[in-house]
Each structure stands twice: as structure tokens, then as C-alpha cells.
């Protein structure tokens, strides 16, 4: 690890066990000690806020999608309105009680787990307020699942612009951390779609903000990892709904596939693009279009330049490779079995008709939960500039190979907006990225039981690559927060920490997530 930049110990208030040259351990936060809880609970109830303290209420939030961080809140508040959240935060400030905000709970590093204190369940605020067909925007409460938003928009023939390919991501969660879709290479991350927000600050003020109104707060709210406010409502851009035309290209080289992905993105050659792999043995570049015109233009100009093959062409090329390496037969069998599972799932006729995929999130998310999901998930990632991406993917892949027999990589680009640079500071968008940022998730298949140490060491090795090459991470909070300072440097972290202390005097809001 001699390439890791040197670091001065002693200045860092976070994750001391993640510093250079010290053996890294899991940084699961200590549980808050519960001081003043009863006084707080009484004051909160006096303020008219319902606080649930039963095991049935608290137990439901004991972990997140990762299933490796466990913490029990002292109580749960189901979000109902900005006013109620305001009352909660004001009371929590007075009594120094931590409040952890949870959307869909799809974090993997315990970012949405309350290690004591209050768990604020934002899904209670999940109603669409209005659709403005002229402005092409929707105003919605932010605990809403993107999929529920899609259900409502679709009744009027509309769709959101981009959202994570997971049915239970929430709007608020994505605005806080980014949110990446396979159309992000064209449309940017989900957080970039927000036009205006209603937020509640850590001291309980309810504030409207946008690029023109309270712009500084807007900049900190978007991609702010919940440090500077709770996002209660958002106005988001929408568009007309279209089913999409999918094309799949198969590669046996990660590098070639990534280069082709970037070729497409650079030239705006497709509406959707991304890479999904079975180890590095079957690398699938998916390309899709909203219209016949775009598809035709792609076929005419770009298709021939792609070096991937169709399903049959790929299989024919793979056969001799495995025939000459009989010791790799188990891998070939695994690929075959996986193909038999996955391919029908991505082509289910009730979701894909006449070559048109009706709803990409339904198809991908159902497949992901069915064939990738498990009670424990670790999905470390690296987010880099265009130039560093191939290197990051190849190095991360080598780490996956070392730790797991079976895994998946998911790569996608994010179009960056020049005017959103202030939002990107200290986020998953790496500081040196221009034009696009690229992210790769490294997801081991949990087809056997792994110890927590094994999983943690794997994550550390992936994240070390990020530090080494100067990258950022999509999941950089929670148990991996020690890396923020290592990857992004003291100056930016200290600046944000100072802003956080000013905005949140008692550091009550999502205190274990970043700082």
C-alpha cells in the first residue's frame, strides 16, 4: 500500500481505524447512550409528534439493504409533514438526540441505520402533490418510492427522467446521494433532476430552495448525504413516457466493453447505456433507445464500431476458449446456468413486447432482487473521471477475482452539468471529473456464507484503489466513512464539517453517516 498518499494523523475526527498504515476494521458506530431520552420523548409528544417505541416499530429498521450494520433506534417517527419534521428536529436539538433519516433503506453501509436515537421514516411522506404538464414538472413528497412516482406519472403518460434501477429507492434518498440510471450518461444523476426543494434544516426551519432561492442551501441539500437538511418535498423534471428498445452486446474483455461504452456516451450515440457482467467472463454492454429514429441512427453510424457480439457470436467464441482450458469448465457451467436464469427474466413477455421494454426499472429491479439480492449485500464501488475508469474497473475486477468465485460488475456513466459543480463537491462525483463521471459497482454473489471480516477486507481493497488513483465512491458514508477524508482530502472535508457544525450545532442529523 505504499502508493497511498501520506496522511497526518491527529486532525481527523472520523474513523481513526481507517487511517493509513493502521489495520482497517469495520467502523460500525457506537450506539448513542440515550441521555435525556425520556425528557425528549415527553417533549416530542407534547409537541404533537407521534413517537413509536415498540419493538415492532423499531425492529423493522434495525438494518439496511446491506444487512451487515445493525443498530436499534430508541424510537421511530413516521414522517407526515414538514411541520412535524420541524418539530422533531427542534426538539432533538434541544435535547441533543440524534435523528437518522431513512428513505428506502437501500444503503449497504449502515447510512440509514439509527444506532440509537430517532429513526425518521420518510416513506410516510410519499404522496404526489401535483403534476404541472406545462412546466413538465412534478411536485412530490420525498419519501415516495421512484416506482410509486412512476405509477402515478404513467397514468398521465409521463415518466421521471432518471432514477436508480431499484423499485424501492426513494426520491429523497436519491437526491441526497446521486441516483444513477442507465440514462444517466445523457441525463445526469437523479439528483440533477431536482428543480426546487422544500427542506427542513437541522434546527427546524422549513425552507424553500432552488438555484435562485436560498441557492447555498440548495447546493448543500442536493448530494448532501442528509447532512444539512431533511428534504421534505421536491419539484422534479418529468418527460413523456416511452418504452425502450434494448440491444445487448457481449464481450470477453472488460477494457474493450468500457471503451465502447465511453465511445457511445461521448458521441451521444444511445439514450441508455451501461455494463452488467458475470465476473469478467461475460461482459454485457446494454444499449437502448427511446425512439426508432435514435435506434436507426445508431445502427447506421455506431453499431459496426462496437466490438461486442450478439449472444450466439459470443457463445461460439467462448466455446473454444473453455475447450482449451478444461480446468475452467466449472466457470463455463456457472455462466451457462446464470444465462438460463437471467436471460428469460430480462425478456419476460409481460414486460417486453415487440422488442420494447415497457419499464426498465421493473425488469432490472425484479431480476436484481431475485438473482442478486440476499440478506447480506456488499457493493463497494469506485467513481472516477473518464480517463481513470478502465484502470479502476480492471483493478477492482482483480480484487473481486481474489475474494469471490462469482460476482457482478455494473458500470455506468453520469453526465455532469457545469452549473451543478457546487452540488458535486464532496460527493460521489470525483473532483477531477469533467464531462462525465463513471461509476463501477463490485458486487459479489453471496452464494455461500462469508465472514464479515472477509467482506470488510474486500471492501477495503476496493476502496484503497479509489484512494490510490484519486477517485470518489457512490457509497462513501456509514461504515466506509473513514475513506472520505483519505479520498477527498482534509481541506474539503474540514470545510464541509465547519458548515455542518454551523447548520447543526448539536450534530444531531445523520451524525454517523459522513463526519
Amino acid at each position: 500500500m505504499d502508493t497511498v498518499p501520506s496522511f497526518t494523523p491527529g486532525h481527523c475526527p472520523v474513523g481513526p481505524d481507517s487511517l493509513t498504515q493502521i489495520k482497517r476494521l469495520q467502523t460500525n458506530p457506537a450506539r448513542w447512550n440515550g441521555a435525556n431520552w425520556n425528557d425528549f420523548a415527553a417533549a416530542l409528544r407534547a409537541a404533537g409528534v407521534e413517537l413509536l417505541e415498540s419493538l415492532a416499530a423499531c425492529g423493522a429498521f434495525a438494518t439496511d439493504a446491506g444487512g451487515t450494520a445493525y443498530g436499534m433506534p430508541h424510537g421511530v417517527v413516521i414522517a407526515k409533514s414538514a411541520q412535524q419534521i420541524s418539530a422533531l428536529l427542534k426538539t432533538a436539538q434541544q435535547h441533543c438526540v440524534p435523528v437518522t433519516v431513512r428513505g428506502g433503506g437501500l444503503t449497504t453501509e449502515g447510512e440509514s441505520v439509527a444506532f440509537g436515537g430517532v429513526l425518521l421514516d420518510m416513506t410516510g411522506m410519499s404522496r404526489v402533490k401535483s403534476i404541472d404538464k406545462n412546466a413538465m414538472t412534478v411536485r412530490t413528497e420525498c419519501g415516495i418510492f421512484w416506482h410509486s412516482l412512476a405509477e402515478e406519472l404513467r397514468r398521465d403518460g409521463f415518466d421521471y427522467l432518471s432514477a436508480p434501477l431499484n423499485l424501492t429507492s426513494t426520491v429523497g434518498g436519491s437526491l441526497n446521494v446521486g441516483g444513477i440510471d442507465v440514462n444517466s450518461p445523457r441525463l445526469g444523476c437523479s439528483a440533477d433532476q431536482a428543480v426546487a426543494l422544500q427542506v427542513v434544516t437541522p434546527t427546524g426551519e422549513i425552507v424553500e430552495c432552488s438555484e435562485t432561492e436560498n441557492a447555498a442551501l440548495f447546493q448543500r441539500a442536493i448530494l448532501g448525504y442528509g447532512q444539512f437538511c431533511v428534504i421534505a418535498e421536491a419539484t422534479l423534471k418529468i418527460r413523456r413516457y416511452t418504452p425502450i428498445r434494448m440491444h445487448y452486446f457481449y464481450y470477453s474483455s472488460l477494457r474493450t466493453a468500457v471503451e465502447d461504452l465511453q465511445l457511445l456516451d461521448r458521441n451521444d450515440a444511445s439514450d441508455y447505456s451501461g455494463i452488467l457482467t458475470i465476473m469478467d467472463s461475460a461482459v454485457n454492454l446494454l444499449v437502448a433507445f427511446d425512439s426508432v429514429e435514435r435506434e436507426t441512427a445508431f445502427n447506421a453510424k455506431w453499431r459496426a464500431q462496437l466490438r461486442g457480439h450478439g449472444e450466439l457470436g459470443f457463445a461460439l467464441r467462448a466455446l473454444p476458449r473453455y475447450a482449451l482450458r478444461p480446468w475452467k469448465l466449472p466457470e463455463a457451467l456457472y455462466l451457462w446456468r446464470r444465462k438460463q436464469q437471467l436471460f428469460p427474466e430480462f425478456r419476460r413477455p409481460e414486460y417486453v413486447r415487440d422488442g420494447l421494454m415497457q419499464d426498465r426499472t421493473v425488469v432490472f429491479s425484479r431480476a436484481v432482487w431475485k438473482y442478486w439480492g440476499s440478506r447480506q449485500m456488499v457493493i463497494p464501488d469506485i467513481a472516477t473521471s473518464v480517463e481513470k475508469f478502465v484502470n479502476a474497473v480492471e483493478r477492482g475486477n482483480a480484487v473481486c477475482r481474489k475474494y469471490f468465485p462469482h460476482y457482478t460488475l455494473y458500470c455506468v456513466g453520469i453526465k455532469l452539468r457545469d452549473d451543478h459543480q457546487p452540488h458535486y463537491e464532496m460527493s460521489c462525483i470525483p473532483p477531477d471529473a469533467t464531462g462525465w463521471a463513471y461509476g463501477c459497482e463490485f458486487e459479489p454473489m453471496m452464494d455461500r456464507v462469508y465472514s464479515r471480516d472477509h467482506l470488510q477486507s474486500f471492501k477495503n481493497e476496493i476502496y484503497d484503489i479509489g484512494v490510490d488513483i484519486g477517485a470518489s465512491y457512490y457509497r462513501f458514508g456509514g461504515m466506509m466513512k473513514g475513506y472520505i477524508r483519505r479520498a477527498l482530502g482534509d481541506a474539503v472535508v474540514d470545510r464541509h464539517l465547519a458548515m455542518k457544525r454551523k447548520a447543526d450545532p448539536n450534530m444531531i442529523l445523520n451524525r454517523d453517516v459522513i463526519f
Binding site: 444487512g67 410509486s148 423499485l167 431475485k370
Partner: protein
Amino acid sequence: MPALAAHSRSGFAACSGCSLCLLVCPVWRKTRDLRYTPHGRAKALQHGVPVAELKNSVESCTLCGACEPACPEIIDLVGMVLSLRRQLTAPAAVTMNDTNGKTANYAGQRVLLATPALRETVVALERTAKLLDCVVAEDNGADIALALEAGTPIANARRERFLTPLFSAKKIIAGDGLLARQLKDWLPLIEITSPGIALSKCSELRRHLRSDDLYVIEPRAFHANYDELVLYYDDLRHATGCAMNLDLQRIAIPATARNLRQRLGVEAEDNAAQTRWLLQGRKIARIVVEDAGDIAAFRQVVDMPVVHLAELANE
């Protein structure tokens, strides 16, 4: 809790907390409170919460079954609620049919077990029987269906009196999806279907479906046999051009949201929000229902023709 395990495809212990069940659950839509969802119940049980503390949640479930095809862990979520209800005291007693009438004989016949709502919709009942070439059973097992729903015991004598005439039936068309589910266990050798599915296969009815119809699938029967039926209904939708009460996952949106207390008549029904959600944004001129029990709910919130599927035969 062995009773749960016995009914499980997977048991509550398999719940990963993914929340996918919330997306389709009418009770979640109404309450936005995790405690009233499969996710909330499974997690509570995982943490050792006593069943008695889950009473309100367990009673809130409408048993529409929408959560089952949504659950990636393939948990027997309807079975879980039924099992929990059996461990709790029902909010009201179910009056069982104890009359000792003449024993019918349905040997070799198709038998329709009509729901009380279908029985009241006389024209639809007659046409259903005619179109499906079946006899309408005198004993429709409505009390048994309600007892199953409430988790109250069913005396062996009553069960036998209900089942004996059905043993030799050729086919049973059961209007109540929960009863149909149980009949598959009790009479594994007999073909059991629902009136909606059987009627929707009649070409005489299909040709009357229009592109400005909203076709409302009965959710219990559909979700209980989702893997087989999802494509069937999707094909029907494409063939006729009508809209259906399917969401983007192709899971049925129930037209009503009757919880146990409402089914037992101890609480007033309150379906308007659910029915309105189903109708929201749809450009339709007529509603065609598989379940006669949905007719009243639609008529309360919308001013357009609402007909039972069998009634289309008249046109």
C-alpha cells in the same frame, strides 16, 4: 411458531426487508405505516414481538395477495396472515351455516360456488351459470370462506357437509379466492378455478370487451396463481385493447380494501380512496368487473356503467 412454518413457501424469517411488498399493498397505500405491511410483520416476528402485539396489523390485511408475487423471497405472506389470525381472537364471531339441508349430488358436474355479492347480482349469476355450463351450489361455503379469513375454527361436521357433495364434481368454480385456495388443499384432485378466469376465456364475452373498458381482475384468484395467469391476462389486454387494473409490475390493484373488521361487519367499509386510485388518470367509458363485490365500490365514486363480466353476454 410451527403453524407458520407449515404454511410457508418461505417463512417470515426469510424477509430481507426489501420493501417491495409495500409497492403493491393497499393497506400501505392507505396508512404509509410499515407496521401494517408484510415487511413490518415479518420484521416484528424476526425480533420476537408477541403475536398479540400485531393484532391491528394482522386484522388490517385485505388478503388481496398482491404482496406474494412482489416478494423476491417467495414468502407465503397470505398464509402468514391467516396463520397469525388463527392465533388471535377474531374481532367478531362468524355465524356458521348449521342447517342440515338435503345433500346435493354434483357427480360429474361443474359447480359454481357463488359469492354472496354474485348471488345478489341475479342477472350476472344466471349468465355465469349458463356461460360456464355449471350448477349453482346451494351451499356456497360463504361462512367457511369468512371463517378462513377470520382464522376461526371450522367444525369438522360443517366442513364435511360442505365438501361431501363436491368430492365427485368435475370442476369447481369458486368465487371467493380464499376459499378456492383452501379447496385446492382439501380437494387436490379436482380442477378449481375462479368465475373471472373461466368467464374471461369465453369468446362470446371477450369479443364484447372494448378499448375504452377498464377490466377489473379479481385479485385473490389472480395472485394465488400469478405465474400462470400474468401472461394470460397480459395477452387478453393486448388482444382486446382494454385497460386493466394492473400496475407496472403487472400485479393487480384491488378495487376495494376491506380489512377483517370490515369483512365481519364490525367496521364500516371505506373503499373510496383505493377505488379512486385505481381509476386515477384512466380514460375509460365502462368498467367490467370479474367480482360482483366490486360493483358497489365503483358506483360510489364514478358515474359510468359498471357491469359484471357475465353481463356482457347480453350485448
